[in-house]
């Protein structure tokens, strides 16, 4: 089941095209990453999903139907630039945003107290926002984003500005929300977080969707059949055994006994014979595929060398 389908969406501004015929689908219950260089059109796409701006052409389906004004009650959005009223008290402000998302005053207060307890920030309730540090304000913003238990959560650059401890807290909260059934979209430049928590990604460059799919699948697809072997034994024996079955890319013999070698294999049939030949000649400690990091894929995709 796909919670969100984006079909051939295009959007132009005065002198440039922000999105050019972008299509993608976001499966229910997934954590979906929007990647792309600055100015690629990510924020415009997020705004279209949030119904902040309308596409020039194409359509957005939410839960199988064209998205309507009422669907925003099922969406929570945390923009890249956090925005809170500086002079307002934290608690009052959180209630205000919750009410705009359709919660009643008493329900909002009840849920907020729970979350403030959970994040151990209950004593901030009556402080005004300009007394809070940036990280503190972001925690408040995060709570206001998720308070109305939306089905779909959208974070624009959620980790920017968080210290590692709070970034971890945020990460575990995101995973917990996913486990409870929410679907999460976030846009980011932070590739390690993509590898860690994203199931699916879409890479947007120059207003177009240039790469979409499951993270593991993408990384393996672009793995280029490169493998690394760790072994104990004689380098020459190993090279003699597998040298005619694969291409040796790099060999790092070691005097301490643990050596490694990088090889390239043409196809899966060869893989098995390389493994068995290597196993015969040396003590094989590990054998693993070298899959590119999302960072490599990102850079190669943007440069057009993928």
């Amino acid at each position: 089941m796909d919670i969100l389908q984006i079909e051939n969406v295009s959007k132009s501004f005065a002198n440039h095209k922000a999105l050019d015929d972008v299509s993608l689908t976001i499966p229910q219950g997934s954590i979906y990453g929007f990647l792309g260089p600055n100015g690629a059109g990510k924020t415009t796409l997020l705004r279209i999903i949030n119904r902040i701006t309308a596409p020039d052409s194409g359509r957005v389906l939410f839960d199988g139907h064209p998205i309507t004004a009422d669907d925003i009650y099922s969406i929570g959005y945390m923009p890249e630039e956090r925005g809170l009223y500086k002079k307002m008290k934290v608690g009052e402000q959180a209630i205000f945003f919750a009410r705009l998302k359709g919660l009643t005053h008493s329900e909002a207060t009840k849920r907020l107290k729970e979350w403030f307890d959970k994040f151990q920030i209950s004593d901030w309730w009556n402080r005004s926002v300009d007394e809070l540090s940036k990280g503190m304000a972001q925690k408040v913003q995060f709570i206001t984003t998720i308070l109305h238990s939306p089905k779909l959560l959208i974070f624009d650059e959620p980790f920017s500005g968080f210290d590692p401890i709070n970034a971890n807290l945020l990460k575990s909260e995101i995973l917990e929300l996913r486990d409870k059934g929410a679907t999460i979209i976030f846009s980011t430049h932070n590739m390690s977080s993509v590898e860690e928590i994203c199931d699916h990604i879409t890479l947007i460059n120059k207003s177009r969707n240039i790469l979409s799919g499951n993270v593991k699948e993408i990384r393996h697809r672009h793995g280029a059949n490169t493998f690394e072997l760790d072994y104990r034994g004689d380098e020459a024996t190993l090279l003699g055994a597998i040298g005619n079955r694969c291409e040796i890319m790099e060999s790092n013999p070691s005097l301490t006994g643990y050596s490694s070698i990088k090889i390239h294999i043409a196809d899966d049939a060869q893989l098995r014979s390389v493994i068995s030949a290597a196993n015969e000649s040396v003590n094989l400690r590990s054998f693993r595929e070298l899959i590119p990091s999302m960072n490599d894929i990102f850079i190669r995709a943007v440069n057009g060398t993928l």
Partner: protein
């Protein structure tokens, strides 16, 4: 949709009304206004207590015997030469008045030597006394019989009472009685100035707060749950309700103060005459000695129907004018990133407001002139100009048409402003030109 605008109005209203500055200005402004009105009277009555001694050296012998001492000035004729008088100690007399022997033919022959700075009222008083003495002396030269009696008989003071020429209500004297035009002028000035201040101050407040929200990026969070149109309207209505509350508090303070204070300040005979006039008596018959202008002014000010009409139209025009201008101020605020950039966009908006104030002055001179009529119909100038006309009892249909035009224009303006606002709040960086604003209005 309604409830969301309600939530936003509530926030805007609460945030502003709870501010200390709001409470202070709301309570202090009427006090300040009362102080400004009462202070001169108080100062006059206290400073008048001291009587100034004036020594008079009259070489002509005509003026001195006829100078009349009063609470302010005490004249004392001295038969010693001027030089000797001027050598007296400084604290003996406040001033020395010297009248030359040729005063009848030479108007500059009167001189005042003061030991301490003299006030303008002292000089005016002396001057007018000498003038009437000399005029009387000159009249005497024509040898007219019974001159003092004739003069006393011909002395007249005209009090022009204005009536509205309304054939429908010939029976009812009270309905004929037109408002005192002095009071109308004062009310017209005060109301249109008040409206001017409100449009400028509260309009700028809307713009400022949009710029602030845009810079805070609060708007980005808001637009994911509220439509920009609702946000804008909520803000405008929220600020408008603050303005209305402030005006209502002022009106209540003024009326309560007026109700309890004014009767206790007035002399009893004036109060009695006023009560009789309210019951329909002619001003001249109830108090032949009293100042009829004053009575008429008081009558207008105590006419509840007249005051209610003015307050009701004031609120309607204030809210309508504010909504219209606030929509434009909000659009201007949404298009820029800071107050400096806003100035250029602000200018064309404030121009009609300033223009209306200039027109208002000519309107007060002639409330029915074509320029007064058309400017009180044109929505951008009508709130201020119409407010200057209403105290003069203009036809009801003009007020109604003007209000309809004003609110209709607001509806169109808010629609256009919302289109700019919707694009503007998400745009950062370069300040847009008017051409770009026009293009924003046509975005999908």
């Amino acid at each position: 949709m309604k409830s969301k605008i309600g939530i936003i109005i509530g926030r805007e209203f609460n945030e502003r009304v709870r501010k200390k500055s709001f409470i202070i200005t709301t309570l202090l402004t009427p006090l300040l206004m009362i102080a400004l009105m009462v202070a001169p009277a108080l100062i006059m009555s206290y400073s008048g207590g001291e009587t100034k001694q004036i020594a008079v050296v009259d070489e002509s012998g005509i003026v001195a015997p006829k100078l009349q001492s009063n609470e302010e000035l005490q004249f004392q004729t001295l038969d010693i030469p001027l030089d000797a008088v001027r050598k007296l100690p400084a604290d003996a007399y406040f001033a020395i008045l010297h009248i030359g022997s040729d005063i009848l033919s030479n108007p500059t022959a009167a001189r005042l030597y003061t030991n301490s700075p003299g006030g303008i009222s002292t000089e005016t008083n002396i001057c007018s006394q000498i003038e009437s003495i000399i005029e009387a002396e000159k009249l005497k030269m024509y040898n007219i019989e019974n001159l003092p009696q004739i003069l006393a008989q011909i002395e007249t003071k005209i009090a022009l009472q204005s009536f509205k020429n309304d054939s429908d209500s010939t029976d009812d004297k009270q309905a004929d009685q037109a408002s005192s035009s002095i009071v109308a002028t004062v009310i017209a000035y005060v109301l249109s100035f008040m409206l001017y201040m409100f449009l400028i101050i509260y309009g700028a407040m809307v713009m400022q707060s949009v710029i602030e929200e845009k810079n805070n990026r609060v708007l980005e969070v808001m637009v994911s749950s509220v439509r920009p149109f609702q946000m804008m309207l909520g803000k405008i209505l929220g600020v408008a309700s603050v303005a209305v509350v402030q005006i209502l508090i002022w009106l209540v303070i003024i009326f309560v103060a007026g109700y309890f204070l004014v009767p206790s300040l007035l002399p009893d005979d004036i109060t009695a005459a006023l009560v009789m006039m309210q019951q329909g008596a002619e001003a001249g018959s109830v108090a032949p000695d009293a100042d009829i202008d004053l009575l008429q002014a008081l009558l207008t000010l105590t006419d509840v129907g007249y005051l209610m009409k003015i307050c009701a139209t004031l609120l309607l025009f204030m809210v309508g004018g504010f909504l219209l201008y606030a929509a434009m101020f909000a659009a201007a605020g949404s298009a820029v990133d800071n107050a400096q950039d806003a100035q250029q966009l602000q200018l064309p908006i404030t121009l009609p407001i300033i223009l209306s104030l200039i027109i208002m002055v000519t309107v007060i001179n002639d409330p029915t002139s074509p320029i007064a009529f058309w400017c009180s119909m044109f929505p951008l100038t009508s709130p201020i100009v119409m407010m200057a006309r209403i105290p003069y009892d203009i036809p009801a249909w003009e007020i109604i048409v003007s209000l309809l035009l004003l609110y209709a224009t607001f509806a169109v303006t808010v629609w256009g402003a919302a289109k700019i606002y919707r694009v503007g709040i998400l745009m950062h960086g370069k300040k847009p030109s008017f051409k770009e604003l026009w293009r924003w209005m046509r975005y999908k």
